[in-house]
Amino acid sequence: MIEQSPKLIHAFGALAELGQEVANKNNFQETIRTSLHLLSGALGIMRGGVARYSRYAREMNMLAIRGLGDEFPLSLSVCVEDERQFLTNGLNAIDAHAARVLPFFQVYAASFERRHIELFIPLIIRDEIVGGLFLGEKATGEPYSSYEKEIICAMGRHIGVAISQRNLLAEIERHSEENRRLFEDLRRTYADTVKAFATAIDCKDKYTEGHSVRVGKYTELIARELEWSPEQIEGAATAGYLHDVGKLTVERKIINAPYRINAKESAELNKHPSVGYEILQAIHHPFTDVPLAAKYHHERLDGRGYPDGLYDREIPYIAKVVNLADSFDAMTTDRPYKARRAAIDVVDDLRRNAGKQFAPELVIAFLRGVLRELKSETKDRRFRRLLGREYMEAEGLAPAITGALNELAPTSSLTYIAARSGSE
């Protein structure tokens, strides 16, 4: 029978709209709901549903239904025999009454009859069942013509593609999430290993217990103050934690000497940056600068450091950061031959040595961090935890830092801080 052309135009309009809907990549649920509307409206179908097939659970799970009532099952089991038959059938309409030989149509016969389900279309995309269409009676009460079944299958192909795309996306998201979790686990393992190494290094030196861990934390604080990226901050902290790894090969009696060591012992101790570099270079680090930080953390801007006596720009930046953190910890902790220095003296030392031993911008960043904490401009109390409350509350510390900052960067906005502090 030749179909009336207005009906054909109407159905093709719906088909075009459906294609656009699927291509638009709107919200998946809305796409499916719209698809069911377009399909129902194209041919005047009173009721129906669109299901997604789970091949793991062997279930057709309803994504959208219209006019099927509350009693219609929202999840329909599919057995191996059904699955095989659906795949053999391909994306073609199956007459629900004629297919009673299949378990699927026997099990759900009552539900199908109650809601007048006449057609079932397995949605098969690239030889895989991705879903199914359940279609009830037409408003005309007439049986579906072969032309209408073709229209339904064409629309079903679009819906199947939408479901397939969604499945693919979900799989990619799942893999991506799995990879992210694995990476996070690896990252955590690496960070834990680094900290364990730092603790092991510190165990060798009973007088500077916790030194590597503190240097790691100071390095991290400087990197934060410099507004480095999270990865760079993590890398900087790692460099700080591992900077003294070379000390593992230095004799314990030299490290723990309760006196100023002699020249020979000093030469032995001074090998630790190069040894540390050799140890760390053999490891594949996610942060490339870690071995360089170990090797050059005793270099000075004025070229009077070791092992290579490098000058300013020759020194890797990360080594300058670790150098400052290392020196700061040395000055602020008790040594067997030297008591920790007063906070104000330390600030003064940093100021005087900026440009000689330390990079001025790093001293500024570091002191700015301490000052912000003193002025309660930051929520965390990292310096307080590392240095102790009493040390941080030393009288005149904040003005001393402000003064140092102004001297180091007289044209910076910190001048304003000093002016304001002075007027208060």
Partner: protein
């Protein structure tokens, strides 16, 4: 008594019918997914006792497949509730489409 829906309702139909009736002005609203609201509102009114749904098409130029589907939903709900559906002021081309798709078998044209 005529009950008002939250969208477009013709106030002139009040007390016209002895049974509770709802008048819905289809507009262009019907042709979008948001048109499902019409179906839900009609269902609520049917549940509340409305026995006649009058869909006014006087402001509707074209009806697409989504609109047809929503109207089929309204018809289905009304039939389940034993209520009557009336389509009024339908354009001839829309009437032809409804006739072709079988909607006119279930409604009264006015």
């Amino acid at each position: 008594m005529t009950e008002n829906t939250s969208f477009d309702v013709d106030p002139l139909v009040e007390n016209v019918s002895p049974e509770p009736a709802v008048v819905v002005i289809a507009g262009d609203y019907l042709n979008k997914l948001t048109g499902e609201k019409i179906e839900r509102e009609c269902k609520d009114k049917l549940d509340a006792g409305a026995r006649e749904i009058v869909v006014d098409f006087s402001q509707t130029e074209i009806i697409n497949s989504i609109g047809i589907s929503i109207l089929l939903g309204v018809i289905d709900n009304a039939q389940m509730a034993g209520a009557k559906v009336v389509f009024s002021d339908l354009k001839p081309e829309s009437a032809e489409l409804f006739d072709m798709l079988g909607l006119t078998k279930h409604v009264t044209l006015q």
